[in-house]
Amino acid sequence: MLIPLRKADGRCGAKAANLGRLLRAGFEVPAGFVIGDPIGDDGWAQEIESALLDLDSGSFAVRSCALGEDGGRASFAGQLDTTLGATTTAQVVQAVRRAVRSRAGPEVIAYAARTGQAAGNVVSVIVQVMVEPEAAGVLFTRHPVSGADQVVIEAAGGLGDKVVDGTVTPQAWTVDGGEITGPGRAEAPVLTKAQVLALGTIGRRIEAMFGVPQDIEWAVADGKVWMLQTRPITTDPDETRPVSSEPGRVLLRGTPASPGIALGPVRIIAGLNDFDQFCPGDVLVCRTTSPAWTPLLARATAVVTEIGGMLAHAAIVAREFGTPAVLAAPGAMTLLADGQQVVVDGSAGTVTTRTNDERNR
């Protein structure tokens, strides 16, 4: 049975239901339909050709959607059974079958057993018109690390898949009321100011509609802002309030990537040959890190890098060590000086000068 995306509800799974709700509220969502029960009812294979004709597009995106899924982070598993750019009916049918298989495989059944859900959960599949974005990315209506009440937008040119790759720094903006911060780098921004503000506004409207902070995937294509997915961020504001750092002059801002505040002397490490200059307790300042840098990350008081994001190697390892980290702080290696005492606030994403108060401790 095929259900127009506009009519999707909880029976179609959270991902489809949220998109249906967005459509009904007037948000721009690529047109599509949901195959309600592709395992139990094979009738969809007959209906799909005319449904695709109705969508009137040259290219389609196919994504699965498990009913047990709450639309939260578990849906990362869904990235593996997504097919982008299917063009013929046969390709779409094949993509639907692949999506179903990936959802009904042994690992999914094991997962269902672990989480106490009935195994063999009904799975639905979403087929949508494929948008060819000029830029795409994610937005959070609350800062995902610091918990601050601001809209955080991360974007890259083209399809949004590069945004979560730690080896590429997405351009990032924060929207706080009408005030925009970012992208803070010399290269050409992939979004205009108007698009950033529009995303901020749309994010807030979607958050208001769902009643809780949202984590939204979006794309800009043909001058329109399209919503691709929305799901709740459930944080406890009391736990996520950042500890405010001592007032000092802000030297640098970057992505808050590992929480906590630390004070120490800057040590700029340009490459492997500088490793012997690093002393335990230093604030490690570098361009980016690789496995060779782990011993330095282990002994650093704090970490500041010029590129990367929340998902980069330096971020993951720093969190593992409980070391405050600020990533994607442009110019860190030139704006900071060796031996300079700085306060790194990994919750706020700032590097500040040391205050008099701290000097006396």
């Binding site: 578990a74 984590d215 782990t294």
Partner: protein, 199 residues
């Protein structure tokens, strides 16, 4: 037939992917007796490719910039020698979306464990999410080892870590063990080194 990399190159490359490690660990990674691995490491040190340093009483090997460049030259020659550059480039393109899933899952799990970000990411969900890349890794490794047998082992190490994570969550992102994140990141470094890419 799959190409077998010579021991000296394997040892130098293990220092690159491990990042930092003592002689027994490097020897274990490349499957050589410790004495033989040590000989190769001392050779590399003599050429200025590797350096031995002590951190908090524990010594280990890491590469110099010259060693890093030398390693990339050797790997590039090997790659072109067996005619596998196109295959490895294709594998790397397929690896990146999987890498996104792994990095995002590790991050979500860490933030949840810290009580910030998204506490909805439970251990069971994290493990379930990592099952996809774990399964895909078998295919990735098979494509690589059909040309270069030195890529063998990543799938086994990753799935072993994932299995242990159910009882001990440190196997997800721990830096003191062959955790999911560490194994995955070594493969990432391996691919970058093999293709001579900049990070």
């Amino acid at each position: 037939m799959s190409h077998h990399t010579s021991a000296d190159v394997l040892v130098l490359h293990a220092v690159r992917t491990l990042g930092y490690g003592d002689t027994p660990r490097i020897a274990e990674r490349v499957g050589l007796p410790e004495d033989e691995a040590r000989e190769h490491l001392l050779d590399a040190q003599a050429y200025g490719w590797a350096t031995y340093s002590s951190h908090a009483g524990e010594g280990g090997w890491s590469l110099t910039e010259a060693g890093r460049a030398q390693g990339e030259r050797l790997l590039a020659a090997e790659l072109d020698g067996v005619g596998a550059r196109a295959v490895v480039e294709e594998v790397y393109r397929d690896f990146l979306p999987l890498n996104d899933v792994v990095a995002a899952a590790c991050t979500a799990w860490q933030l949840a464990a810290m009580g910030i970000g998204q506490p909805t990411m439970t251990l069971a969900e994290t493990i379930a999410t990592l099952q996809g890349p774990a399964t895909a890794l078998a295919g990735v490794e098979a494509r690589l080892t059909s040309h270069l047998d030195r890529f063998a082992g990543y799938h086994h190490r990753f799935t072993s870590a994932l299995t242990k994570a159910g009882h001990e969550p440190a196997w997800i992102t721990g830096t003191d063990r062959d955790s999911c994140h560490r194994v995955w990141f070594e493969l990432h470094e391996d691919l970058i080194a093999t293709l001579g890419l900049a990070r």
